[in-house]
Each structure stands twice: as C-alpha cells, then as structure tokens.
Amino acid sequence: MTEEVTISARNVIKAFGQGSASVRALDDVSVDIRKGEFFTLLGPSGCGKTTLLRLIAGFEMPTGGTIELDGVDITTLPPNKRPVNTVFQSYALFPHLTVAQNIGFGLQMQGKPAAQVKARTNEMLELVKLESLANRKVGQMSGGQQQRVALARALAPQPKVLLLDEPLSALDLQLRKEMQSELKRLQMETGITFVFVTHDQEEALTMSDRIGVMSNGKLQQVGTPKEIYTTPKNRFVASFIGETNFLPGTAEDGAVRLSNGDRIAVETLRAVDKGRAVTVTVRPEQVRIGPAGKDALAAKVTSLVYFGTDTHCHVALSDGTEIVVRLQSPASGDAGLSIGQDVGISFGPGAAQVVED
C-alpha cells in the first residue's frame, strides 16, 4: 500500500427528487483512496455508502462534484468505459452462462483473444478454488460458491479498483468469517485497490487498512481502524464503532468538569475551549474500578451482566450518570463486586476523549 492516490472524490453531491422534495444522498463528500489499500465505507443503511460506490462504478452520475481515477476525470464516463469492476450484493451472476463463461465475460467484452480468455479464466478458477465447478450453471450453486464466482468474474479483467457492495451480507456467520479472511488474502495477493461497503463495524475493523465512516450523506471520519476506534472525531463515530460511554460536562484547563463537580483530566483539550459544554467519551474497557478513594470518581454499582468472556459492570456517578465498565471475567466467574457497592472510577492515560456533537 502506497501513499499514491488512485480514486479521488471531490465535493461530490448526489440528490434525488425535485425541488423541495429533493433529498441529498451524498452531501459534499470528499475522499482520497490510496493505491493498493483495502478501504471500507462504513455506516448505517441510508448513509450514502452504496450511492458513493455506484458513483465510482458509473451506474449513477453525481449532481455535483468530480471523481478522478489515477488523475483522469471519470465523472461522466459510462460504466463500461471505466477500468473498475463491481461485486454486487445479489451477485448478479448470468444464469444462462456457466461459471467459466461468467468469469470470462468481461475479457470477452473487451475483445481479448480466446486463448487469453481461457488462460485467465483458469487462473481465476484456481484463485477462488472453483476449478471443479467450471462448467456448472450458476443457478445450482450455494451462496458461498456464487459469491466466489462473482469475485472471480470481477477480478478477471484486472481492474484498477474493485468495488464490493456488501458482498457478505447474505452469508451465514461461519461462512462470513471465512470469506472475510479470504477477501483480505486476495487483496493482499493481487494488490488491487478494494473499496468495500458494509454496515458491520466489526467486519470493517478486522479487514480494512482505512475506514471511511459515513452518516446522512456525509463522511464523518477517515482513518485506520485504530485511529477510528481510539480517537473518534464525533459522537456518531464514537457510538457507531464499538461501545462507549458519554459524559457531558464543561471544559476547563486540561480537564472537563462534570455536572456533579467531578473533574476528568483530558490531554487533548485546547485552551480555547475553556468554558464550553463538551462531551467526554471513554471506552468501557478503559475504565478502571477500584476501591473508593480521593483520586477516583465516586460511584455505586447498579448492575452486573455476565457475558462469558466479559462482565459488564454498570455504575452510577453521584449525579446519576451511568458508566459501563468492561471487565475480563476472572476464572472463578465472580468479579468480586456486588450491587450497591461503593467503588472508585478512574481512566487509563489518554482514554478520555472529547468529541464534537
């Protein structure tokens, strides 16, 4: 993966409908996708991630803004002229063709000689391990097999970018996990830029080099999984990825004062923000429970939920603010806490972040 940019979307707007009823599926989105990376567009349904993908593929045209591929403006180029291929959510395999014919289709359309088509098709069959099914009609195959055919078909023409529209959503959990590592392996082997769309944040975190979190047609944050998780830029990103606690308060010098008077040290607070109402976010696994003391926030245990590997402990601060703490369950299964117990809450260094609302 290099720093070189392959896809560049600038100020992209996509509106549907007319006049006052018009809705913006994409509202001024700009993003750079780097060559050779596994980039994921993540967000809830309706956030615009699929729309952006379709704009890159060429099935829709933006209402405003531009899209460039390796420096070439492809904004109004029809899809069959873009060196970009798609793996569809419903696979869209051609039912009247065999697996091999499906895979070779793109190369045939490009007018490649028959020998080359055959050779490349065999390469792809090997890549996705479907050699034995080459002459089978696609209608009689399982979901997982169809998915691999769709993948091979999209990779065969050696596109500059591969677009994947929630390709794993129709698979059961076991198969999905297998395909996730398959896809990652394929991407690293072929070195092709993957743009992957999903609403499953765990999927995004495990597979991506970088993630673009979207909501309501806007790009909320772009970064590596670690960056997104540990330093979420705003409330949406913080709550969409993983679990988090939100603590409202007022900004002070290098700290935030909660409504009950407790003070939380926050490293990244700027001097300018003093006096502003802010929200602190802390991941549950970075909250420490200890005995009540002067360096810790006073809290009472309100409930304990046993999850097997984890135990979630809900505590309430003196003003009622609830904090969820994630503990690793001890061998005995008993966390040694009881409901109503007075405890002290503290946070690891740098764990407390301030987010925009």
């Binding site: 829709e60 933006p62 209402t63 405003g64 904004t75």
Partner: protein, 281 residues
C-alpha cells in the same frame, strides 16, 4: 448542476420504435372511426362532419336483425359458457391434483390451440350431417334439431358456447386460486353446510371472476367471424358476418359507422373487465 445519467434499461432506438408502434396500432382504427363521420360518400374526399351513416345504419333492417341475432347469441353463449366454466373451475382448483386433470386442461384450452378455420370446417360437416338427417330422424328430436337448432340459432349458440369456455374459465380460475381458503373453513366452523358455504361465502367471493369471465365470453362471441360464417344458415347473419358480406360489395362509410359502434361496445366492456380484475390489496 444536473448531469446526464447512465440508464441501464435504455436500449438505442427502442423507445422510439415502441412509441411508433403504439401510434401505428391506433392510427388505422382512428382513421376508420374518423371516416364514419364523413358526409361524402366517396371515402377519398372529406365532405364535412355528418352522422348520416349512423342514421343509415340504425335504419338498416338487415343491420338491426344482424345486431339482434349477435346479441342473442352472445348472451346465450356467455351464459352457457360461464356456467359450465364455473363448474369446471371449481372442479379443477384447490384440490389435490387428480389423475386426468391434465386431460381436462387440454380439453378446456383446446379451442385456443386449434386454428379457427379447422374448427369451423369440422362444425360445418357435423352440423351439416345433423341438419340433413333431421327429417329422417323425425319425431320430437327431429323437430328439435330442425327448429331450435337449425332455424333457431341453436347450432350457432352451441358452437359459440364451446369456444367461449376457455375465455370464461381462465379469469374464474385465476380468481379461485387467489381466494383465501380459510374463509370457507371459518364458515364450516360456524356450522354451515357445504351448500350454504358455497352459496353464502364462495360464490359471492368468486363473483368478480365470474362476471369478468362472462364479459370476456360475451366479447369473444360478439366478435366471432370465421366459425359463425361457416356454421350459419341462410339469412342468419350476425353483425360480423353481415359486415364481411358487405366488404365484398360496395363500400360505404356505413360500414365504418357500424364498426365504430361495435368498437365502442368492446372498449367499454374491456375497461370494465380491466377495472374488475385489478388486484386491490
């Protein structure tokens, strides 16, 4: 800033062709209707708007007789075909498929598969045998064959009833298959006998399908040319066969007027049929 979109469903020239086709489909009919209002006899020159041809048609005794005959035949054939088709539809739906059911389908749909000229000729032969032998058979049967069937419109009605059956059958069957069985089960649960269930629940629910089937059968019978032409006796013209005869002689816009009226009836019935069979969820 609007951009042109890439429409996947667009194929070059297809929309233009389609619109031209619709245009070409209706143009001849409009021409025919337009000329029915032509005041001048010569169909080339437009002599001004006139209803004289409609008046002539209304006055024409042959036209009136033919129309009456067409109506009698169509109503009778529709009634017979619909009744018989309703029973057949009830017998072939919503039950476990039984041996020979396929044979019943083939028989019921057979008029749709056999060219009309073939049926027409076969009926000509059969009815011819019956007509010539009616006198020899004698007695009430001979009398019946001679009067009702031959001189009455019996043979024609018989022929029409037969080929109208599939047209009545299909909408009724479609309606039956879409019906909710649980309603009849509920009726049985509430102490209704099978006959009561049929009369009070099934039949009313089937009604739109039956009416649609009857209307379709009526239109088909009204429009029939070939079979009627071969099966009719002397002086037994229906409206279409009368028109066919006229087309051989001189053409006046009277034909256009008659055609337009027949057209209007068909369109009205069809619109009603369409509205009746629209799925209301």
């Amino acid at each position: 800033m609007a951009r042109s979109s890439f429409s996947v469903a667009r194929l070059p020239g297809f929309a233009t062709t389609a619109v031209l086709v619709f245009f070409a489909l209706y143009l001849p009919i409009f021409t025919l209707v337009a000329y029915s209002f032509n005041a001048s006899q010569s169909v080339a020159v437009w002599g001004g708007f006139s209803l004289e041809w409609y008046a002539k048609a209304w006055d024409n005794q042959q036209v009136k007789d033919a129309t009456l005959r067409s109506l009698i035949i169509a109503v009778s054939a529709a009634l017979i075909a619909t009744t018989v088709a309703t029973m057949a539809a009830l017998g072939t739906t919503r039950r476990r498929e039984f041996k020979g059911q396929g044979f019943i389908y083939v028989m019921i749909n057979q008029p749709l598969m056999v060219p009309e000229i073939v049926t027409a000729v076969a009926l000509l032969i059969l009815f011819g045998i019956l007509k010539t032998n009616a006198a020899e058979i004698g007695g009430p049967i001979g009398y019946f064959v001679d009067t009702v069937m031959n001189k009455g419109l019996g043979f024609i009605i018989l022929a029409h009833s037969a080929f109208c059956i599939p047209f009545a059958y299909l909408p009724i069957r479609a309606r039956l298959e879409g019906m909710d069985l649980s309603l009849e089960t509920a009726a049985a649960d509430l102490y209704a006998t099978p006959w009561q269930t049929f009369r009070r629940i099934t039949l009313p629910l089937m009604a739109p399908g039956i009416v649609a089937g009857a209307m379709l059968a009526f239109v088909i019978s009204l429009d029939d040319v070939v079979i009627t032409e071969f099966v009719k006796g002397a002086g037994q013209d229906t409206l279409p066969t009368y028109m066919l005869g006229q087309l051989r002689r001189q053409l006046t816009p009277e034909i256009n007027a008659i055609s337009t009226m027949l057209l209007a009836v068909t369109v009205v019935l069809l619109t009603a049929f369409f509205l009746l069979t629209r799925k209301k969820d």
